[in-house]
Amino acid sequence: MNALVVVPVVVPLLAAALCMLVGRSRIAQRAVSITALTASSAASVAVLVAVDRDGTLVVDAGGWGAPLGIVLVADRLAAIMLAIATVTLLLVLLYAIGQPGAERNHVGFQSSYMVLSAGVALSFLTGDLFTMFVGFEMMLTASYVLMTLGGTRDQVRSGMTYVVISLVASVLFVTALALIYTAAGTVNLADLSERIPLLDEGVQRAIALLLLVVFGLKAAVFPLFFWLPDSYPTAPSPVTAIFAGLLTKVGVYALLRTQLLLFPPETRPDTILLWIAGLTMVIGVLGAVAQKDMKRILSFHIVSQIGYMVMGLALFTVAGVAAAIYFIVHQVVVKTALFLTGGLVEHVGGSSRLNRVGGLLGSAPVVAVLFLIPALSLAGFPPMSGFVGKFALLDAGVGDASYWVVAAAVVAAFLTLFSMTKIWAGVFWSPKEREPVGDAQPVGRLGGPALMVLPTAALVVITILLGVFAGPVYDVVTRAATGLLDPAIYRAEVLGS
C-alpha cells in the first residue's frame, strides 16, 4: 500500500522525461501522459480509500527515518486533496488534447503538465516544510512555462507579473524556513509541531504571520490577490482551468496544514484570518461584478471563493475546518468546470467578452447547460456541492458566534449569483452586440469537440454527485478535520512514538 503513495509524484515525473524523449510523436506523448495521469489518479483514489479505512500512510523516502529524512505523509486531508487533484488533472489533460491550440502547437506542453502534476502531488504529500518548498517550486516553474506558451505580448506582460510575484513569495518562503530552522532546528512538520509551542510567544507569532503571508500570496487572499485576475485569463483555457482549480488551492492547503499543525491555540492568528476571509470574499466578488469578460469575472471569483475556505480555517473548530475542506474539494471541481466551459464558449463563440458573444443558448445548448450547473453550484443552489459547502460554513460560523463574517459570506453569495446571471445573460441569452475578433468554430451536435465537452461534463457530474452524496463525503472530511485539530495524532503517526 505504501508504494502507491509515491506513484502520484514519481510516475508523472518519469512521464515528463519520457514525453521529452518522444517529443517528435504527438501520439506517443499523449499516450504516455494519459497513462501516467490515469495511473496516478487510480493510485490516489486507492490511497484515499485505504487511508480513510486504516489511517495515515507514511513513507520514508530513501530509507531515512522521520525527523531527518524526507517523509511523505498521506493523512486524510492530503489523500482527499490528492484524489480530487489528480482526477481533475486527468480530465483537463483530455480537454487540452481535444482543444485545437496549446497542446497541439507546443512540444513542451505535455512535459510541463506532467511536472506540474508531480509538483502538486508532492506539495500535498510532503511531511516537511522544505520538501513543500520544492513541491511548490516544481509546480510553479511548470506553471510559468504553461502560462507563457505561445509567447504573445499579453502573455509576456502578465507572465512577468506572475513569475515575479511567485518568486518573491518563494524568497519569503525560504526566509521563513531559515527563521524556523534557526529557532527550532528542524523543518519536519511533525517535529516542528512539538518544538514550536516551546518557543517564545513573539517568535511563534512572527513565524505564523510570515507563513501566512507566504501562503496567502500563493492562495491569493486579500490584500495579496492583485496578481491573479490579471495573469490567469491570458493563458490557454485548459491551462487557466487547472491554475484556477488547483494552484491557489495548494496555497490554501498549505495554510490549513501549517496553521493547524504547527501553532498552539494561543498564537494562531485567528482574528486576522477571519478579517482576511471576510474581506477576500467581498472584495473579490465586487471585482467580479465590475468585469466585462467571462474569464476575468471567473478569475475574480477564484479570489472571492478563497475567502470562504479561509473563513472555515479561521474558526479553528472541527465544523469550520471540515466545511473548509469540503469547500476546497467543491471549488476544485466547480472552478475547473467553469473555466473549461469558458474555453468552450471561446471555441464556439470566438471570444469571451460578454458583448461579443451571445445567443449561445440557441446555438450551443449543451454548452449552456454545462455552464449553468456549475454556475448555480458556485452560487450555492441545492442540490449541488456549493450549497452543502456554503451551508456548512455558515453553520460553523454561527456556531462560533462570528456573525459578521457570516453576514459577509451571505452578501458575497448573492453578489456571486448576480455576476453569474451577468454571464448567463451576456453569453447565452442576449444577442451579441459586436462581432467577435476571433474565429467562431462550427458548433456541432455536442457544442464542441467531444474530447472538450466530455471532460467538462464529467466535472459537472462530479459537482452534482458531491452534492447528492454529501453525507458520506462529509463524514470523511469531518474525520479529516478531527485529526487535523489534534497535532498529537499526526505526530504519533509520523514519528511513530
Binding site: 516553474t141 504573445t152 513569475v163 515575479v164
Partner: protein, 165 residues
C-alpha cells in the same frame, strides 16, 4: 562571524528589494537574484559552524550542521533555473516591444481612459489589439494627459519563431 553574515544578508535583502521595485525586467531579475542570495545566506547562518561535515574530518561535536547547506544547494539550483526562465522572458519581451519594461495593464488603462468617457472601453481594448492608428493618436494624447509611460504599440507583435515553438 554570524553578525557579518547577518549584515551581508540584510544588505542583499535591501538592495534586492530596491531593484525588484524597478520597472525594467532586467533589473528585477538582478534584484530577485540578490534577494535569493540573501535568503540563502540567512539559512546558512542558521546551522552550527564547524569543520566540513565529512566522515573522518573530525569529532562529531566539531562538525558543522550539514542540513542547511544541503537544503540551500537545492534552493540555489531552483533559483538558477527560474532565473534562466526569466531571462528568456525578458528576451521575448525585448523581441516584442524593443524593451523589457513591464507593460501597463490594459485594463488599468481601460479604466483610466473610460473615466474620460470618450470611448467604450471594450471597444478600446479590441482596437488596441488591432493596432488601430487612429486610436493610437488619441492614446498618445491621453498619454500626455495622464503621463502614462506606455511602450510604443505601432508595430504588430512578431509571430513566434520556429525556435519558440
Amino acid at each position: 562571524m554570524s553578525v557579518l553574515l547577518a549584515a551581508a544578508s540584510a544588505a542583499l535583502f535591501s538592495m534586492g528589494t530596491y531593484l525588484v521595485l524597478q520597472r525594467k525586467l532586467s533589473r528585477i531579475i538582478i534584484g530577485l537574484g540578490l534577494l535569493t542570495h540573501g535568503a540563502n545566506l540567512l539559512f546558512i547562518t542558521a546551522g552550527r559552524r564547524g569543520l566540513p561535515a565529512l566522515v573522518g574530518a573530525g569529532d562529531v561535536d566539531e562538525l558543522s550542521d550539514p542540513l542547511p547547506q544541503a537544503l540551500m544547494l537545492t534552493a540555489i539550483v531552483i533559483s538558477f533555473g527560474v532565473t534562466a526562465f526569466l531571462l528568456a522572458l525578458a528576451y521575448r519581451s525585448w523581441l516584442l516591444t524593443d524593451d523589457d519594461e513591464v507593460e501597463h495593464d490594459l485594463s488599468d488603462l481601460d479604466i483610466l481612459l473610460g473615466r474620460g468617457g470618450r470611448e467604450d472601453d471594450a471597444d478600446l481594448l479590441e482596437r488596441l489589439d488591432d493596432h488601430d492608428t487612429d486610436l493610437l493618436e488619441r492614446l498618445d494624447d491621453h498619454r500626455r494627459d495622464h503621463e502614462l509611460h506606455l511602450p510604443p504599440v505601432d508595430e504588430p507583435p512578431l509571430e513566434p519563431e520556429d525556435g519558440a515553438r
